[in-house]
Symmetry: C2
Subunit: 226 residues, 2 copies
């Protein structure tokens, strides 16, 4: 495949992205109950919290200093430069806005087994597969900017108790993702030059779509059960 | 063990540190041939080059944001903030000072199998063992400040073609190690509170002493063979 065909094939997976999951549709249209919103936020925290460990696994497997240097900024993005900063802190604020205490989020009592399995599978993938496949799995970022922009608008209009400041995770992330998304595509195109490598990158992105989709399946069921 | 007894037990391993290895003794007293010096520098490059990946493995396994944040600075220390900066660059300059081209260092043609096995075992340890054991294995830093200070003096007086600027890796590292060494001890003491944990930390440091010692054994043999 040429670079354009390859990127086209990756983009072609957009329908598998969790943007179209029934639970996300309901989140956007404002029909989630407060319990459902809380279940969603607390479960997604588990995903957020693991991202630095996933990214460090990629760095650990990567022998290219330039890529390591570039990837390191992701860890800093989520962990922040100090306590009370960074993407994690912004997610915790959203959790508080939907009525969760910080304690019940951090002790992971609401995390559904299915969410844990999916997220852990993502970390295991990053730890055990070649670094370029693990980077390719993160290409769901290509699809996320659009979804997050819509989310901010939809959540503000449909859940009146949520303020713009509570959505800082998303407003902040939209900018980060637009830059990171292209940088990630560039790395994947640079290093996947054979058909076999390209197929593996597509499979990695497909796997990541499954991870995210399974998370929402499990969140949906967990909220029904509570 | 109390914290003091524990730290004492760790310090008690200092005689196993590679400072007393015959090859290091000869390095310091000025009796290494240029071939031996080059073999040493080129082989140790392999160790240096892998450290960011080892440290990223620790971060990948560590669920504590505060520790991850602290550990991240080590990756930046070696990889630098840009090409041509950082500990790796300083090591490459030392390699050039002893007569190696950058190319023959980077392509690892001089790396002895025994060095590769020892270094790879260190990375595997960091990837597969609990993060606190991997951190404890790095406590050889407790012993290295003194050795490096002596090295700079000894190398300058015994190898007249080596200039102070060529030893920037060591002069720079002495300062870094004095701070990092204590910070690492603090983490290990904080997280190893049971006798079993303390024993594992001591075993980890012992393992790391074996890694370093084996490296010099292999370097010694490789220089004899060439």
């Amino acid at each position: 495949m040429t670079a354009d065909e390859f990127v086209g094939a990756l983009r072609g997976l957009s329908h598998r992205y969790w943007g179209t999951h029934p639970f996300h549709r309901r989140l956007h249209e404002g029909s989630l109950s407060e319990l459902e919103l809380r279940t969603w936020a607390a479960n997604r925290w588990y995903y957020q919290s693991i991202l630095p460990q996933k990214d460090a696994a990629i760095i650990s497997n990567c022998p290219v200093p330039r890529i390591r240097r570039q990837w390191l900024t992701r860890i800093v993005y989520h962990d922040g430069a100090a306590d009370g900063e960074g993407g994690h802190e912004r997610w915790l604020r959203l959790c508080e806005a939907v009525g969760l205490t910080r304690e019940e989020v951090l002790d992971e009592r609401h995390v559904a087994p299915g969410v844990r399995f999916a997220v852990d599978a993502y970390v295991t993938f990053a730890r055990t597969r070649p670094w370029i496949e693990a980077i390719a799995s993160g290409l769901t970022e290509m699809f996320s900017g659009h979804l997050m922009r819509r989310r901010v608008t939809d959540m503000l209009s449909n859940y009146p108790w949520i303020a713009r400041a509570d959505l800082a995770y998303f407003t902040n992330r939209i900018d980060a993702v637009s830059g990171e998304g292209q940088a990630t595509v560039d790395i994947v195109v640079e290093y996947c030059t054979t058909r076999a490598d390209q197929e593996k990158a597509i499979a990695a992105l497909s796997f990541k779509c499954d991870v995210l989709w399974s998370m929402l399946d499990a969140v949906e069921r967990a909220a029904r059960k509570e």
